[in-house]
Symmetry: C2
Subunit: 99 residues, 2 copies
């Protein structure tokens, strides 16, 4: 994915000013690294969360633990505000797997 993007036509920086364009390209490089890491962590987290659910169900436990979901919702909302709530809802849904 990264290689494919690097080979493609470089994405416009949206400015004609050379110094600004260079600064933007530098910041975008770091953003691209962050995105790769976000994707990696997202996949690892979803896999762990599915394992937690499968372990619980296999041992005769509940499918979900709502107090744990509430804890995670609070964690993201406290750190990131309204965006954190949206992010946590997405993370929790990805972690539950098919209901």
């Amino acid at each position: 994915m990264t290689a494919k993007l690097a080979d493609a036509q470089p994405t416009s920086t949206g400015t004609e000013e050379a110094e600004a364009a260079t600064a933007i390209r530098g910041m975008r490089e770091r953003i691209d690294e962050i995105d790769a890491e976000l994707i990696r962590l997202w996949q690892e987290r979803a896999s762990l969360s599915h394992q937690v659910g499968a372990t619980r169900v296999a041992s005769g436990g509940t499918r979900l633990v709502l107090s744990r979901e509430r804890e995670i919702l609070d964690r993201f909302r406290d750190a990131l505000g309204a965006d954190g709530t949206q992010l946590a809802l997405l993370i929790l849904r990805a972690g539950r797997g098919p209901l």
Copy 2:
């Protein structure tokens, strides 16, 4: 935040089976680490993205670059499917700042 959670009443594992409960607690520890890293990366990314926008506007450029937003949308959708699209839309909104 982590300290506060650790001090609180431990969250139920949702199972009565000791071995399963231990496994779940171990996986949750790693999930908690991942969440802390997701939050850190989210904040760094939003800050960088705001800087990119400010740099562009200050140099007389456009406020947004839609081809770059499309690239990011594709990246998350390719890696994470429908969840990736939702995640990218949230990330892009957080990165745009107040319009």
